[in-house]
Symmetry: none
DNA sequence: TATGAATGAGGGTTCATTCAT
DNA sequence: GATGAATGAACCCTCATTCAT
């Protein structure tokens, strides 16, 4: 199994196949749900044999991990850059919400797959996590951003942990909104979220 | 199958067994995850044969439905009464959050099982819902409460739908907090949530 | 188990229950097929508990045996008397066909249940027969009737065994005809059968 | 599942395994009865895992369908050709009976499996048929043959439907004769059947 | 008498995984 | 690189049967 023996020495073709399979997994998960996303179903969608999936991924867990990775990559593509460009903590939070909403809007499949997968593989006591929370930009990062904003006097009084957690929940809410109603106006939804968080963290 | 022949005329003993099995299902779901909660695993926990579960429940869906019911019952026991007793919309929201946090705190297993089950059975396009969202007290109810508060001039300017959605997310957040950290101080968490929502909806 | 301990000392009520259950079994078998006729389904139809069936019958085989018996009894009620009243072998055969057709016509449920049950319990090498062929009045009896008719010079030349076998098949054909087409004119069908057999066995 | 992806593009080896499994199913059905022919039992006889059967057949119905097909193929191999070669209707009927008897004689397992399967899957009101009656060469075909013979003046007076039905019953009778007595002289049995039908349909 | 409750064996089916080619 | 074939474990479910009450 290449993926185990020389993790960094993969062929281009290799890499392409992997990406294709992950892509198909994302689609199946988003459209039919995580529970329905069997290897057979994914392979069928990729129009390859079931064993091809096992040739490229050591086991299903690795594929799921890559799905999470792929979604994480895709969603976080613009985020750091844009947040860095933003002025203060308030602006950064606004930009984060808007960017994520924009991403979800343009990549509903990825977003929904990420949420589905994340929910189904959430760390339960005893169950090991595969990767870090992909879609939420990291609760801890946000918490720190908020705490620093408070320290700088830019933000008002509130519990940074709770607000950071609710930020992650807001991200999920955007995706859920998209899943429930394919015609939902996510931009407007995001605007209202920004307004809400702004009211919470303003001095 | 009693559950088919006389759905409303169940024996005490019958009902007791059903409750016991539902209880075991709740525990397995909470501790090992919905996907791991096979009938075999649940029966094993109840220390009965697999077929006993089928004797008391027509099929797995009925059992899952009862799990959702049980959680819903348990969580909603005090909520309506307390909310009715509360003064205005702000107070009602505060009471709701505090009551739910109190419930989750005292019934972490139930709360987590509810969230797990709810996530796994969430309506995907094409998938039918069994029962209404149990843990969240109904987004629509909250939205109406908020909208009426605004109409009365009691509350400020904000999008009632978005805030209602975030209220549901807050409820989930409480449960997740409890799941992630068994020692989490949910009362404090709830207090901060109340503060946050209060800032959002105040005039 | 009464039915085992004192086979001839059954209560009236006992006997009535048995008959009722057998009757329900007949109906279920005829309407839904032998394979679908589980004890649960039969008990449900009789509006009694599944265990009641086991109280009155040692096991399922005994119930099936009784079904075969009941059908046999019902179908053979008039046959011997009418055949005895008939003149020669040709007349006896005619009367037999007509009587059976009449019975099937008036008791399609019984007839179909008999055929279904008989087919499913037919003696395979290794499998023991429960009772003798109920619906067909006995191939051997017919063979003897035919052979004696030949010996007496009343009938022509033909193989009594083959014709007897085909007589049994004719009986089944009547039932099948009724099963396939609920509006089939069995009387006419029987008339044609009589004509056919008459041509075969006439001198 | 090959059988789903490319139904007409099966490998040789694939086809061989399918044939082997069908063959084993035929044997189990013939020797132990249709009701006893579970996938486990069939797989056991084929000396493969139960899941192998599911790899080659989508479900049990497809396997049963193939059993019916196989029996049908085998039994009808020579029939059309030989009947076409026969002169008139009387000759065709004679050839049909003799050919079928010959087939049953040389393929008792197939014949019995066909009869068992056919009986168990016979259309009850509400039950769908998988394929057409395999073993009986089609009642309707025979009826037409007879009616045309009558129209041509080649045959005498009789009900073509009833005689066609009895022809099918004769075919079953041959198989049953073989099942009841492994040493039965089917050739002689067929000869007598031919004589019988000849007497019926001759002018 | 009657039955509610329980059970183990077995049913068909799906699945992730392995392996020879 | 790729895959067809096979597998065993586990899944949900049905069944005839038993037994205490």
């Amino acid at each position: 199994m290449r993926s185990k023996n020389r993790p960094s020495g993969r062929t281009f073709a290799d890499e392409a196949r992997r990406k294709q399979i992950v892509e198909c997994a994302v689609e199946v998960i988003a459209e039919e749900g995580f529970a329905q996303a069997s290897l057979a179903r994914i392979a069928q969608r990729a129009d390859v044999a079931k064993s091809v999936v096992h040739y490229h991924f050591a086991n299903k867990d690795e594929l799921v991990e890559q799905v999470l990775m792929a979604v994480s990559m895709a969603s976080a593509a613009l985020l750091p850059e844009r947040m860095a460009a933003a002025g203060g903590a308030r602006d950064k939070l606004r930009v984060a919400i808007e960017t994520i909403a924009e991403f979800v809007d343009g990549n509903r499949t990825y977003a929904l797959a990420g949420l589905e997968t994340w929910n189904q593989t959430r760390s339960l006591p005893g169950r090991l996590r595969l990767v870090e929370d992909p879609a939420s930009a990291g609760v801890e990062d946000i918490r720190r951003l908020l705490a620093e904003g408070q320290a700088r006097g830019e933000l008002g009084e509130f519990d940074p942990h709770v607000v950071a957690v609710m930020f992650r929940q807001a991200v999920d809410a955007i995706t859920l909104e998209a899943a429930i109603d394919p015609n939902a106006d996510l931009k407007a939804f995001a605007t209202q979220l920004v307004a809400m968080f702004d009211r919470v963290i303003s001095p």
